[in-house]
Amino acid sequence: MRAFTAVVLINLALGVGAGWGYLFWGVRAARLERDLAVARAAAVSGVEREWRVEGVVRAILPEIGVLVLTHGEIAGYMPPMTMGFRAASPKITESVRVGDAVRFTLRGVLPNVAVTAIEKTP
């Protein structure tokens, strides 16, 4: 009788433990699935955007295709600052010099944006 009680209690403990485990991991897995779905949706629905921005060329890094620009506000993306941007083509880095005041076009799906056009301003 004692052995039977012990077996029942052990089985009960195992059952309760498994139940709690299922609940904990089940809830966690469901939350991760939701987050994954949201991330996938955001990636699919990522809209390409374009900005025209005033700036001044601070450095040119042709070896990695990057322009460092001190720029004005980029609406909905970033405040005025000095920052490196990927140039969409080598022609862009070749067409300007340090100190040039420029107007450039930034295009892409955030945060993957690149300078697609640039022109000097007076």
Partner: protein, 151 residues
Amino acid sequence: MAPDASFAVGPTPPRALTEYRGRRIVLLVLYALPASRPRVNQLAQNYDILATLGVEVIAVPVDAAADALRALGAEPRILFPVVTDGAAEIAAAYGLFAGAPHAEFLIDRQGYIRAIARSRGEAGELNPLLAAIQQLNEEKSPPPAPEEHVH
């Protein structure tokens, strides 16, 4: 207290020197080319160290040249703010204390000028500057100054 002034770099909106109070130590550099080029280059090459120590370098051409960035050239890469608008006012205000072709003002986080280094613009030792910055970083911050007001 360090004189306040408004300045801009390229197309960025004007900002005031007082905006750095409570946030960053400022090294305000009054420079004149070509004499100051060695020192400006030295600061540019060590800007990462200075930035890590919480310092913002603000370079002010005393001739207030509109093409100051172009005049400094591409090498070495100068990524700290170089004033292109408002330089004349800053040069006039700080020039009173400069007394040399090249002058550097170390302004602490409370907005006080804590050191002035005058030179001809040659690349000197960086260690004294780093030591002064380190000393400022080790100081306990006093409570903020009361707001300026008029009765």
